[in-house]
């Protein structure tokens, strides 16, 4: 993955930059020693690393504003960072950039049950938000698998989803307002505790903007009452096609499961070897979870089983207890770890129309064998959000490049069947250069126009999202 050549003039101004930052927010929040900035050299797309010039960890919105004002004046690129769990290289620094992290800003500012909202500083982790309210019977719905580590900041920037978003939506559907610092240091309030915008829906374009528009320091989130209970059913099929049809039939029936997860044979095998969840030996496996009272769960599971039986399943395992539920989820939850045991892997997240599942799985298998690489699929089937895991060997010369080429082919395939490059992980650097496969130059120009308004100097995360060639002239203005 190509990154722009660091601007030597900026690098040479490091001492002056550090002095100004320290004067503004104190020495504690400014990290410049080479061995210390190394901690910020990558996110979860760990194949790509580059230590930043400086890392800054302010402790308030005001300090964030001061830092941005200094960087803006000195023309230094800024890479916003939450917890650094991005799988797309979203928080990967460049050698001439400042990492601006919100990790020290983790306060809960207000919990409001009557209005079902919580206001937080964005450095707080996703799970801590639910932790704050669950004693009172509430939860924050978007639940990325990384929720123990990832921050609300990154969730907003990536518009993250999770296993439960089939029913509850992704971040954008659960975000009511933000405090954001613009690249020139101005602080802007957008939205609030009320619903929907009066004027243009700026919140809608800020969510998912991958740190391109401003630094989000506070957020008002919607919280929901916890369901009475939840239980899954596991259904095995002897073909991906049939499993795919079963998914469509369930969705069409009016049922709204909280999750419909899909695993294919390579993934089931790996998981069985690793976690011994006792999954059936079959081509495709669905885990479908529903919520409600005991009786409602029984009723919904019965409806699902009835639909599934029309598709000749090889196995149906309905959970009747918390223990059985845990066993059913065990394999799914260990899937990534299990694949990790087999080697290094790259995780894609292209999304496709649900009806294209069988064809896409077949094509992925064919492409994988052409490349001589193994691919396992485990994904959110209810909304067509694929997660092909490509196995490769990082120590083998050329294997990463081969893996990336296969990944690119798979993502193009997703677009070609009417889907998109990324359903929840974001573009970052990973899919940046594939953007022209999904969008025309005019389409990209329209998106870059939005960045032009928020960040005229293009100092925020400038080498991400848009193909480098497309954004070159704008970045040249630095």
């Amino acid at each position: 993955m190509e990154m722009p050549i660091p601007n030597a003039a900026i690098v040479s101004r490091k001492p002056a930059l550090v002095a100004k930052l320290r004067a503004a927010i104190g020495a504690q929040g400014v990290i410049d020693a080479p061995e210390e900035v190394k901690a910020y050299e990558c996110d979860a797309l760990a194949a790509y690393r580059c230590p930043p010039l400086v890392a800054v960890l302010p402790s308030s919105t005001q300090e964030v504003a001061q830092v941005l004002r200094i960087c803006h004046e000195m023309g230094v690129p800024v890479v916003p960072r939450g917890a650094g769990t991005s799988l797309a290289g979203g928080s990967l620094p460049t050698a001439d950039s400042v990492i601006l992290g919100v990790a020290r800003m983790r306060d809960v500012l207000e919990v409001d049950y009557p209005n079902r909202t919580i206001k937080v500083q964005t450095g707080i982790t996703n799970l801590a938000v639910t932790g704050e309210v669950e004693g009172d019977g509430f939860f924050y719905a978007p639940d990325p698998s990384s929720q123990l580590a990832c921050a609300i900041a990154g969730n907003i920037a990536m518009n993250s989803g999770g296993a439960h978003c089939l029913k509850y939506g992704v971040t954008t559907n659960n975000l009511l307002g933000v405090t954001m610092v613009l690249p020139d240091g101005e602080i802007v309030e957008i939205g609030g505790a009320h619903m929907d915008a009066s004027g243009l829906d700026l919140l809608g374009v800020i969510c998912g903007s991958e740190g391109q528009l401003g630094l989000v320091t506070e957020a008002t989130l919607r919280i929901l009452p916890k369901p009475e209970g939840a239980r899954p059913v596991l259904i095995g099929f002897d073909s991906n096609e049939v499993a795919g049809t079963c998914v469509s039939d369930i969705i069409k029936s009016g049922l709204i499961p909280v999750a419909i997860e899909f695993m294919d044979r390579p993934c089931i095998r790996a998981t069985e070897d690793f976690a011994k969840a006792g999954y059936p030996d079959c081509e495709a496996l669905l885990i479908i979870e529903v919520e409600g009272s005991e009786a409602e769960i029984d009723d919904q599971l019965a409806r699902i089983v009835k639909i599934a039986k029309q598709h000749n399943p090889v196995e149906i395992r309905e959970s009747t207890s918390a223990e059985e539920s845990a066993r059913i989820w065990l394999g799914r939850k260990s899937a990534f770890g299990a694949m990790g045991q087999l080697g290094d892997y790259m995780c894609l997240d292209g999304t496709i129309p649900v009806g294209e599942l069988p064809y896409v799985l077949k094509r992925i298998a064919a492409l994988a064998s052409e490349y001589g690489l193994r691919v396992g699929n485990v994904f959110h089937a209810g909304d067509g959000n694929m997660h092909p895991l490509i196995l490769y060997n990082a120590n083998k010369e050329g294997d990463l490049e081969k893996c990336e080429a296969l990944g690119a082919d798979i993502l193009r395939l997703c677009v070609d069947v009417g889907g998109c490059l990324t359903g929840e992980h974001g573009v970052g650097i990973e899919k940046r250069d594939l953007m022209t496969h999904q969008y025309t130059l005019d389409d990209l120009e329209a998106q870059m126009n939005v960045k032009d308004v928020f960040d005229p100097a293009w100092i925020l995360n400038p080498a991400k999202v848009f193909p480098l060639a497309t954004s070159a002239s704008r970045r040249g203005q630095l």
């Binding site: 009557p114 243009l200 809608g204 999304t351 067509g384 969008y439 389409d443």
Partner: protein, 383 residues
């Protein structure tokens, strides 16, 4: 399997034609049926391409040209047991327009106004169900954003920006929407005679239960002697609805006796009337649509002293009927108020849309400048 209306070539031709008109034309007012036209704008009217769609019921997705009448789409969906979950209101009654044939609004108009009804409090607004959009911008460029899949974070989300932009950023030509199966059954729990503070407290309590409330509204006593009513809606499979209604009655016991409407037609009527603000159709006065934090609603109503009020979204949405020329915004410190119905002079004087804080206004103006540098679309409507 998908249900397809007309070939894509025809649509592409229509879009190209529109783009050419915009490149050549002067000032443009993107227009559907004019059924939710609330702002003031002048210029040459340009209609979005009409009546084309590609509907895939098994994927719950619909791609439709912006000029397609809402009636057409609602029938198409109903035939497949599906609907638009966000319950978009029909505004003609409120705006005093008579219904002539198929003029009940277009899909483009619905998206451009982010039209969302009672179920919004539970499932999200129109913008939350918009998966993709195509539009012609002020330079006559045809731009696409988003797609037709449920989850999509590829690039900046211009879909949300276009939804609710009231035609000020471009002419929407096509949208992809997520649809939803029609719930098997609806029941409405009613508590009579609550004061408005208690009504909002009761609605908050209901929305805070795990029983998946999909509507929470409050209307005042009327001239015909009916008591004030607080309405809570439950939808879903029959067995589930009866269980939840009972659980909800227990949970709300402290607010007094409640009754339950089980008749399906009556339920449809109750919520359609809330959605379309039926109560104000025949009443004179200005109409404001307000978005506030629900617990702030009774205080605001107390301060404004409107002629009448409807609380929807558990109090998060207020429809206020006021004496002409009342400035509701003068009483507000948070949220926003849109002047939906008033004389042109009042709209001119008070402004239809809520004034934005200086920075937001600057950003919005910057976006309009980029999307529509020659100010061809609905000039001055929102700002």
């Amino acid at each position: 399997m998908s249900i397809l209306a007309v070939s894509n070539t025809t649509f592409a031709q229509q879009q190209d034609h529109l783009a050419a008109q915009i490149r050549a034309g002067n000032i443009v007012v993107p227009r559907g049926h004019g059924s939710s036209q609330i702002g003031l704008a002048a210029g040459q009217e340009l209609n979005a391409p009409d009546a084309l769609w590609d509907f895939d019921p098994s994927a719950l997705t619909l791609t439709v040209s912006a000029g397609t009448p809402r009636d057409t789409i609602e029938t198409l969906l109903r035939d497949q047991g599906q609907c638009l979950a966000f319950e978009p209101p029909h505004m003609q009654g409120l705006l005093g327009q008579s219904k002539v044939g198929n003029n009940a609004g277009t899909i483009g108009g619905m998206v451009a106004t982010n039209a969302s009804g009672p179920r919004r409090v539970a499932v999200g607004a129109c913008r939350d169900f918009c998966l993709g959009v195509a539009y012609v911008d002020g330079l006559g460029r045809l731009i696409k954003n988003g797609g037709r899949v449920m989850k999509n974070v590829t690039g900046l989300d211009l879909v949300k920006l276009m939804a609710g932009s009231h035609g000020t950023l471009g002419l929407i030509t096509e949208v992809s929407l997520k649809t939803q199966p029609i719930p098997e059954m609806t029941a409405t729990l009613t508590i009579e005679n609550l004061n408005e503070v208690d009504a909002v407290t009761a609605m908050s309590a209901a929305l805070g239960t795990p029983f998946s409330v999909t509507g929470a509204a409050h209307v005042r006593a009327d001239r015909h002697g009916a008591f004030a009513r607080t309405l809570i809606r439950i939808e879903g499979f029959e067995s589930s609805v009866s269980y939840r209604i009972e659980a909800l009655q227990n949970a709300l016991e402290r607010f007094g006796h409640s009754t339950v409407e089980w008749d399906q037609t009556a339920n449809a009527d109750i919520w359609r009337a809330i959605r379309d603000v039926d109560r104000f159709h025949a009443m004179t006065g200005d109409v404001w649509r307000v978005s506030v934090k629900p617990s702030d609603a009774p205080k605001l109503v107390e301060a404004v002293q409107p002629l009448d009020v409807i609380y929807d979204w558990g109090g998060g949405r207020l429809w206020l009927l006021t004496q002409p020329n009342t400035d509701v915004r003068a009483q507000m410190t948070a949220g926003h108020a849109t002047l939906v119905r008033a004389s042109d002079a009042t709209k001119q004087a008070l402004g239809v849309f809520h004034p934005e804080n200086a920075l937001v206004a600057k950003i919005s103006a910057g976006l309009r400048e980029k999307f529509d540098p020659m100010q061809k679309f609905n000039r001055g409507m929102m700002s």
